[in-house]
């Protein structure tokens, strides 16, 4: 038997114990190497069991990593897959090893002490029994679809077999993991034990069960559960309903989800209740895996996954961060209330100041609605909401500001008012307190001047609306911001569960500067006679989470216009605001908040507002095709992003991509704005931009030097 690195086999009390402990790593992942080691150990155990006449009582699999069982398959290996055949063959190889585990002539138990995901979950599913720790760290699931693939080591067969079709589909199609408690409830694990007693209780479980698992039937409760699981009609109904739901939510842009649905549903009747499912089912899974694993979408999603992991950990500067305890928020508007909610939810006492009680009431309401909205959706317990609300204390003066380690200013976007407020704050806070502005485009450097002294503590901290949902924070480095301040806000953002990107203090910073020209272009297209409903449809088909006009309605047409006008004032002709934005907000149509904008918003429904066209000069409908519309809008963004790189607003292309994905919902399956640009090619984009410039006669399409250079050298943003 060869030496093993990742797995260790030992014998204890008549049990074989296999420990996963990947060297030099905080986590265990299933690589080809560790899979081969497992195969060897299984063969060894089988031989021993056969020769010594069933001497062993059972097999226990456990992890030596704290809070992690096995985090999944090695993503690098999935990334390297180049053809469907290769993918299918890899899946078959893995399936064979897990089937050998399932068929081993001795009962097995997986001791799940933490993250048990993807391939790790499939390994656990191939065991006869599973025992999980009483721990918040336990998360069990098959998140493969999030990387654009499907489970390939038998997960699509074995999970539904254990938990039923409905629950199985829910877990595999959403990719969301379940907690230890939930796993017990749905029959995914056979029991829970304290972390310290997992091994003992695992062995006791095997002794008690006296052999291999005999029953695989899911726990079904109530008529509908049984109908949807046991009756062919019920299963057909479940499948068609799920399919509709998936189409509605993914518009077919995430093929892995549909593939997973097809595979799970196709295999289910055969797998249900059976100990050894037919090999046909596994073959079908491997084939389906092969079809998605080598595709572009999976590659993109994996690259985005890596990017997100990298940015979650990125330090940005070398300085040591300072701890942040108490905070103060200035301005109780939508953003102020939202920021106060975020801070208090993470345990920070927050002073929220505005000029009067009415304004403070609206800020409290904002926070309350987020807290109790989450309670209603059962994402939060009522006590957490009560605690969070308790930590926000409203004030109409600056009392309590002297205790704050961090003040976040979120007053109206007006430099005059900002400067007055910053000056006031400077006289109220303790020395060393960081003062951050949640401005979306104004100069933080200019605000810092109002502080009078110590401009190194002035910084921008730009959240996106709605604060509790948008994962991005732009940390804006003003002219004199210290590294310590940057490091503090970077770490603080991470502690709040957000991903920070550090950007230069230049009008619009990174995300808004790229997004606004895109939105503006939509307005200009509308002026040229393209129907706005059509523009939104084109964008939705591309994969944008919402159309440009819906997005503007959500943002608020007054707020949007204000930011657009500020950008125009700063950048001039290139960002000239479309007339329609001025006209519509002057007409009093402010978007969702006023019930009417480009769309008419009714309870949970919206329809296009035909009145929009009356605000425009009469003009025949343009025959512009979807491709041209898309190019106008996307290439405009690519060009602006290139300009940001040229002006060093950010460091590299991935800063742009992470910002646009996390700040605006740019479709991750496209890999990000600039990764998408790379797939199109710089030369083609420059050519298209030149053509647009010619056609419209507007200099806004003039490709920037950075982009022209890429086109010339044949390089990409990433390569």
């Amino acid at each position: 038997m060869a030496m093993t690195h990742n797995l260790k086999l030992r014998f204890e009390n008549g049990f074989a114990v296999v420990e996963f402990d990947q060297p030099d790593s905080k986590v265990n992942v299933l690589s080809s190497e560790s899979m081969a080691e497992l195969e060897g150990i299984l063969a060894q155990l089988r031989a021993r069991q056969d020769s010594e006449g069933k001497a062993l009582k059972g097999l226990v699999l456990l992890s030596q990593k704290p809070d992690i069982f096995i985090a999944g398959a090695d993503i690098k290996e999935i990334e390297k897959i180049s053809s469907p055949a290769e993918a299918e063959q890899k899946a078959r190889a893995g399936q064979k090893i897990f089937s050998a585990l399932e068929d081993l002539p001795l009962p097995s138990v997986a001791l799940i002490n933490g993250a048990c995901l993807g391939g790790g979950m499939e390994l656990a599913l191939a065991c006869d029994y599973r025992l999980a720790a009483h721990s918040d760290k336990v998360r069990m699931g098959l998140p493969e679809v999030k990387l654009g693939v499907i489970p390939g080591f038998g997960g699509t067969v074995r999970l539904p077999r254990l938990v039923g079709l409905r629950k199985g589909l829910e877990m595999i199609l959403s990719g969301n993991p379940v907690s230890a408690q939930a796993a017990l409830k749905i029959g995914l694990v056979d029991g829970l034990a304290s972390s310290q007693r997992l091994l003992t209780e695992g062995m006791e479980l095997l002794s008690k069960m006296k052999g291999k698992r005999r029953h695989y039937g899911p726990k079904l409760k109530g008529f509908s559960d049984v109908f949807l699981d046991k009756n062919p009609l019920g299963r057909a109904l479940l499948k068609s309903q799920t399919q509709k739901f998936v189409w509605k939510n993914t518009k077919g842009q995430y093929p892995a989800v549909l593939k997973a649905l097809e595979t799970v549903a196709g295999n289910y009747p055969a797998a249900r209740g059976a100990r050894g499912a037919s090999d046909e089912a596994y073959q079908r899974e491997a084939k389906a895996f092969g079809q998605v694993a080598s595709g572009e979408i999976s590659k993109n999603l994996i690259s985005v996954f890596y990017m997100m992991e990298k940015y979650k950990k990125a330090k940005w500067v070398e300085a040591a961060p300072r701890p942040i305890g108490k905070c103060a928020v200035l301005g109780a508007g939508v953003m102020g209330g939202g920021i106060a909610q975020l801070l208090s939810h993470r345990g920070h006492p927050v002073r929220m100041k505005d000029i009067n009680l009415g304004a403070l009431g609206r800020g409290l309401r904002q926070a309350w609605d987020v807290f109790y909205g989450a309670v209603k959706k059962r994402r939060m317990r009522p006590n957490q909401a009560a605690l969070g609300m308790g930590l926000i204390s409203p004030t109409a003066d600056y009392s309590g500001f002297s205790n704050a380690d961090l003040v976040i200013e979120a007053v109206v976007e007006d430099m005059k008012i900002k400067k007055i407020v910053w000056k006031e704050v400077a006289s109220q806070v303790k020395p060393g307190a960081i003062i951050a502005s949640n401005t979306s485009c104004l100069s933080v450097t200019e605000m810092a001047e109002a502080l009078g002294a110590a401009p190194e503590r002035a910084v921008g901290m730009h959240y996106f609306n709605p604060v509790h949902r948008m994962p991005l924070v732009e940390v804006i480095r003003a002219a004199k911001t210290s590294d310590e301040t940057i490091a503090t806000l970077v770490e603080f953002s991470k502690a709040l569960g957000k991903t920070p990107i550090v950007v230069k203090d230049e009008c619009g910073f990174l995300v808004n500067r790229i997004l606004l020209p895109y939105l503006n272009e939509a307005g200009l297209l509308l002026e040229e006679g393209v129907r706005f409903e059509k523009i939104d449809d084109v964008l939705l088909d591309f994969g944008m989470p919402m159309g440009a006009f819906i997005l503007m309605d959500e943002i608020g047409l007054d707020v949007g216009y204000k930011v657009a006008a500020l950008l125009e004032a700063h950048f001039g002709e290139r960002m000239k605001v479309s007339h329609i934005f001025k006209a519509i907000h002057e007409h009093g149509w402010l978007g969702k908040k006023s019930g009417r904008g480009f769309y008419i918003h009714e309870r949970k429904k919206r329809r296009p507002n035909p009145g929009v066209y009356t605000l425009l000069p009469q003009r025949p409908e343009s025959a512009m095709g979807g491709k041209e519309i898309l190019q106008r809008m996307l290439f405009k963004m690519v060009n602006e992003a290139a300009l940001c790189l040229e002006e060093k607003i950010c460091r590299e292309a991935s800063d742009v991509d992470i910002g646009m994905i996390m700040g605006t919902g740019f479709p991750p399956f496209r890999g990000g704005l600039l990764r998408y640009a790379d797939t199109v090619g710089g030369a083609k984009i420059v050519e298209a931009l030149e053509k647009m410039k010619e056609k419209t006669g507007s200099p806004r399409f003039a490709p920037c030097g950075y982009l022209v250079n890429l086109a010339k050298t044949g390089k990409g943003f990433y390569r």
Binding site: P349, G358, G361, L364, W368, A386, L387, G390, L391, P394
Partner: protein, 370 residues
Amino acid sequence: MRVDEVIFGEVAQPPEASNVARVISLLVGIPKEKRAYTLSRNCASGIESATSAAEKIQAGLDEVVIAGGTESMSNIPLFYNREATKIFLQLSKARTLTEKLACFLKFRPRHLLKPEVGLTLGLSDPTCGLNMGQTAEVLAKEYGLTRAEQDEFALTSHKRVQAARAKLKEEIVPVHVPPKFEKAVTEDNGVRENLSLEDLAKMRPYFDRATGTVTVGNSCQVTDGACALLMMKEELAKSMGYTPLGYLRAYTYVGVDPSRMGIGPAYAIAELLKKTDLKLKDIELLEINEAFAAQVIACERQMEKDGVGKINRDILNVNGGSIALGHPVGTTGNRLILTLLREMKRRNLRLGLISLCIGGGQGAAVLLER
């Protein structure tokens, strides 16, 4: 964070917060390593928290304490009576369907539709069998108090609160009302503007309908409220850069007949003066909680009778009292300390005294200095 302990007085503890002081402490963000407890000396709970804090600080057990009082009388729940509770208990223990059914069949409409009102229970004395209003009637009769003098006293309370609106506002923290937060409560809502003696005279006696003189008009109002004081030794306060609002110099609690609980202040004040070797005329400003007009007037009479002295009404409850403001029982004692010290500051006085009658038959008095 320098706060060592949070102490709150409360009478009707909410069932969902057994130790409400601890809940308050955590909700306001005081670190969880710090201590907190809730205590009750019925109507003097808000004083007891302050005097307990003083005792702990003097004993060297604490350095910095937040001592307060809290009461939400509008949230006091209704209870199932003893009989119904027993059936519910049996039901929870029932194993089989037959047993459960048998329990269910025991319920009668009176069990479910006639709950016991927690507020009424709390305001009744289980030993003497009288509710608080009835104890005031006992005093009114014993001291021969007229309806008119009680109503006059009540009217003064309303008028003084109206005149002191701006002053009282200084000690009020606005509270936004969830879930809409459209309204912020910024002032006491118990005061009746334009109240006249005629209006008060129209009210019927509430506790003794036939022969009584105590009406809801000349009694304190049931209300919600909370108050807190930051307490520490003088040297520490000064080293931390605080200017003390005042000093707690001495205090006393006395026991009296439960059915005459309102007379408590008369004896408590007498004892405190004796203890501190002071005369009533040394006290420059005085607060006697207005549980009932009858009860405060009875105290005046008793003190005159005992030779303690005649109370100068010009320095008694100068900014009105519980008849106009309401009496959130666990809170009031604490608020009296705050209100008195702030007024002493405005008038630049040195010695003040607050006193409360306590349901169950006790009196409390605290001597304050600045």
